[in-house]
Assembly symmetry: C2
Homo-oligomer: 262 residues x 2
């Protein structure tokens, strides 16, 4: 199975992209809803959680892992890769590669949680590949609660998005990376406020393409993955909001399974 | 010592009220910042956390406990009282008593997190004492992230507060209970939006008065409490935001001590 974890519901955008790119592959999801959000927590705490979550997914039969949370991807990928001897994907590198391959001016904006932006990982990765790129970041801590609240089209959400994007807009970026897996749910508002000429990079789609390409080139691993179209969703805390959002996003009937976070 | 816990920074409003009402009493605080927020989590999870937090405070020398979190107060007070043989205070009953003693029309509004409002505990307690009272509740899940973000006076915050309070305003409540320890930080905006004639009940002040009265009537317990004006602040995750907010709220220099949440 393909194992995916996130701090909460955001990673479901990655599940959706994987369902579209790798139709029929079995997926096991873990949403750490008892300890969400990760974006406001320290690196040490997020690393500890990421290792525990990976361990859990392996115990349930995962053969590859997608860290579908930008905060965990930015601070915990190295620890997870060092501790587990299987292919680990994160959501940052695929988005960075896509952004530098499609940006004309190499003037790139990034939005994410406070932890992701503070880590500086997007700038670092972009500059490793394109030292002359101009990169501007903006932390947007209120967008996750707005998405979790379901306020996807409210005027207050539009105002807050506009306020957050303002410093990137004045820099005239031509590409904007959505550095948080919750943000694709606000893509329409974000596109409108940043301007229709700006190319928006959705990390959920970027990582799904990357996993697909990897499996096409690694048939031994591809053969280990079951393909019965089975999806299992584990959460560390069962809440109505998660079930409601998951059903409306994925358009399938899902049953949440509870697992205690340690 | 007086032990206090909260899911994060909200309980600092209770610390502040206790520092004012019981000047010089030693206080030990635990903010469960690694697992914050509690308001979106299930009752079972919040109960488990509350028992763990109480256990920790007792191990550090607490002789009485104040549950300075409305969510934990509403779902976990019974469990904590059953499991520990010391005086336990919660933030709901004192606010309820104050509201029914001061409301003229007995037309009372309550705002809180989704978990607190869903528990129905304020209505239940008010109706137990005043069966004819009219009680209206409104969940305001975005106010905690707005406070944690420090957006205390932003226009977006004012709009969101106005939207949340609208259904209570049309009911012409004469008293509004702030059913979340974060909300006193938004008291000015809330007062403006609900109308200046509405009496706002701040649960942090209500519980501090209650603890003070209890100690005056229980000298044996009062004598067990040390009074060197010492304050210790433990958190399960050390973040800059917590330290910054704590210093600006309490006007004292504090040093955060880290403790792992299990």
């Amino acid at each position: 199975m393909i194992g995916i974890f996130d701090s909460g519901i955001g990673g479901l955008t990655v599940v959706k992209a994987l369902m579209e790119h790798l139709s029929g592959y079995d997926i096991i999801y873990f949403g750490d809803t008892a300890r969400t959000p990760y974006g406001t927590k320290s690196s040490e705490t997020v690393k500890k959680y990421a290792l525990e979550n990976t361990d859990f997914l392996l115990s349930k039969g995962a053969k590859i892992i997608v860290i579908a949370c930008n905060t965990a991807s930015s601070v915990a990928t190295e620890s997870v890769t060092e501790n587990f001897n299987i292919p680990i994907f994160e959501v940052i590198t695929p988005a960075v590669e896509l952004s530098i391959n499609t940006s004309h001016k190499l003037c790139i904006g990034i939005i994410g949680t406070r932890a992701t932006v503070k880590s500086g990982i997007y700038e670092k990765k972009i500059r490793e590949m394109k030292p002359k790129a101009k990169v501007y970041s903006k932390a947007c801590p209120l967008l996750v609660p707005l998405v979790e609240e379901g306020w996807l089209k409210k005027p207050e959400t539009k105002m807050i998005v506009k306020k957050y994007l303002h410093p990137l807009k004045v820099r005239q970026i031509d590409t904007l990376i959505l550095g948080c897996t919750h943000y694709p749910l606000l893509k329409d508002i974000i596109q409108k406020k940043i301007g229709k000429k700006v190319n928006i990079i959705d990390s959920s789609i970027a990582v799904a393409s990357k996993v697909k390409a990897f499996l096409e080139n690694h048939q031994n691993i591809n053969n280990m993955l079951s393909k019965k179209g089975m999806y299992r969703f584990f959460v560390s805390d069962v809440t109505e909001q998660f079930e409601k959002t998951a059903k409306s996003m994925l358009k399938i009937d899902i049953r949440l399974e509870h697992v205690s976070s340690s």
